[in-house]
Symmetry: C2
């Protein structure tokens, strides 16, 4: 029953066409007027007009000529990388990653640091200093940052400004606490769940490129899932979509019959790093200290560790069976400490087990191409998209202002 259809005046055409031209230049890297006229379907004068506007607004610049072919050589245009800057921040569990990228998405400065305490004030201080260092390195002011994107654990409630379900960031669940990040960023900033950003990163730069529906499943200290639907991030009603840690654990594992784990019965408690370690211990691998140990032992051929890994694969397969039954994704990307380290040790058994659990062929299952960088890259991708819109809006308002003055 919903009927769409925005009414418009002629002036929106100019904006639309400018955006289209900019988008094409962005896509092609370098482009001439005739090329742009052809790909956008606009006429040469219109393209020329748009290019003039965009160049005057500082979004594009002329860059040499295309020679070699017969006839007059065409002037080439490209995006001015300095037309916008993006600050991406990955607030991880034990570390902090910060990077600055230009409008083309090229990372021009980056620092990774161990996290200095989890208290809000120390974290803000550390991030602010890192942002200062990075912008200085690039040679810009912090106010030149067009958009900042933070990736954090937990669910960010934009209404209250609180960060729920982020136990390793104590104090951030208070209403309004997120606003303290304004100190780090310039004016416009965005806070997004880290796993969601990893999914975006994988979509923009990794295995998810060009895939409409896929999920990024992170398994490490905790568990989480980022869902991309129609190429866009899906957050759910309250931003809690993809909280697979609360998936009821599937039956069929005799080890799960112990009362303690049956009581919890959640995916996170059995499949996360701690779950793998306790599983390996119960299987008889008394010296298992970390999930990494277990996977290394399994890779070395230890039969007990191998059994533990197979059990882990079984848990993951059951979770993915639920995801497949509900979402029918084209691709599942495994990330996080265990998802990445496990590699083919995990994907093989997961694929086998999943095949017997789902109706049709199971979705493709791959290990993240970006690894630990996924969140940061996702933050930059989100920032880049937003920054592009912001600078275009700014250019449009400049254009209308100048035409209005005449």
């Amino acid at each position: 029953m919903q009927i769409t259809g925005a009414a418009s005046t002629t002036s929106v055409l100019r904006v639309m066409n400018s955006r289209a031209v900019f988008a094409e230049v962005f896509r092609l890297g370098k482009a001439s007027r005739p090329e742009l006229a052809q790909t956008t379907g606009l006429s040469k004068p219109t393209v020329a007009m748009a290019l003039t506007h965009l160049e005057r607004a500082g979004l594009l610049r002329q860059v040499g000529q295309r020679s070699g072919a017969a006839g007059r050589s065409a002037l080439l245009y490209e995006v001015r990388p300095e037309a916008g800057w993006v600050l991406g921040v990955d607030v991880g569990r034990g570390y902090v990653r910060v990077a600055v990228a230009d409008l083309l998405g090229t990372i021009v400065a980056r620092k990774d640091r161990p996290s200095r305490g989890s208290r809000a004030s120390t974290l803000v201080t550390q991030l602010t200093r890192l942002a200062d260092e990075l912008t200085a390195e690039v040679g810009i002011a912090r106010s030149d940052i067009t958009l900042t994107v933070f990736g954090t654990p937990g669910v960010h409630d934009a209404q209250t400004g609180a960060l729920r379900s982020a136990p390793n960031l104590p104090g951030w669940d208070r209403p309004g606490s997120v606003e303290r990040l304004a100190e780090v960023a310039g004016a416009p900033f965005v806070v997004e769940n880290d796993v969601d950003l990893a999914a975006v990163g994988e979509s923009a730069y990794g295995l998810g490129a060009g895939i409409d529906h896929f999920v990024y499943v992170s398994i490490g200290t905790g568990t989480g899932m980022g869902i991309m639907i129609d190429g866009k991030l899906y957050r759910g009603f309250r931003g809690a979509a993809g909280e697979v840690g609360y998936l009821p654990v599937a039956e069929g594992d005799p080890l799960q019959d112990e009362p303690a784990s049956r009581k919890r019965g959640m995916f996170e408690s059995v499949a996360s790093a701690d779950g793998v370690v306790s599983l390996a211990r119960r299987l008889g691998m008394a010296d298992a200290a970390s999930a990494k140990d277990v996977f290394e032992a399994a890779r070395a051929g230890d039969p007990t560790a191998t059994r533990a890994v197979l059990h882990e694969a079984d848990h993951v397969a059951h979770a993915l069976a639920a995801v497949t039954a509900i979402l029918d994704p084209e691709l599942v990307v495994l990330g996080g400490g265990i998802g990445t380290q496990g590699g083919d040790l995990l994907t093989g058994p997961v694929r086998d087990r999943l095949t017997s659990l789902v109706a049709l062929d199971p979705p493709r299952i791959e290990v993240s191409a970006l690894g630990a960088d996924a969140v940061l890259r996702g933050a930059l991708a989100v920032g880049l998209t937003g920054a592009r819109d912001l600078v275009l809006d700014r250019a449009a308002s400049i254009a209308t202002a100048t035409t209005g003055q005449r």
Copy 2:
């Protein structure tokens, strides 16, 4: 990295504005020029021009005047209901429901019949005769139908024209078999999963009105789920999203420890009508013949039947816990035979159980407002949306043709 931005010429403005005006008339029912100018933001002459075009194309008609207020009385316009017709078909398991609606969505003719066999040819014959009867009743030709929408079990693969996973429609899984429905419909028709259509119906006419993210869970002879995301139907990569029948069944139910059911371990096998009956029998209710019996007995106070219903609620809650963890919907609508008949007998325990299984507050859980009509209403809603676009496209092509001739 994706950059949107369609380039446009001035002529698309006319189309856009005509659509906007039409949409407003549709929304308001009856509207005058000044009203439309105000709500669309367009000027009076533009609105007048659009109205003239739409009236000439037969989409709108003038209908009296608005009097009572001071000043000249305004001419009123409304959508011509006869500007388009929609045929909706619900191919159910034992029945067939067919209805014709006009462009306003008013059902003008409808017939429900027991399904005459499940063979493709007899079904097509029956549907064709029903369509003929209905159109005759309305006084239109079958070729006047703008768009036909079929709701069927199974997954329709538009690539091959096959209908997968629909065991009660034998023969329809052959490639190209769906094309036989062209005989029933006029030229343009759409085949959609029945549960998906029920979700759309609930979104257009039922409890889902105005809700962006919700799911419709059908529990009856089989199980299924329709997913609405951002107010649109989500189908998944291969159209198999929402196949909750394949959800791994959660642990924690001692009754499930019998080997037979553990082997299957799917939601459908335990939660569908057959599952309820066998569960009740195993609990000692030897005379349980149908799920309806069980629910009636429970409603009458039978303790064994009540236990069975509670177990059913537990299964449903576990499935919804998985759905909530993955999708975080705002609302869950229960439909299908069991979902509808169960009523508060089911929703109460489901809510209680679900609360203990999920992280945040559980989503709202309600029983379908449309009941057995949900699929048919959904078919009509989908058809209405499509028909509106079709007649607008047709009107636009007429308009450009006439302006081109001048």
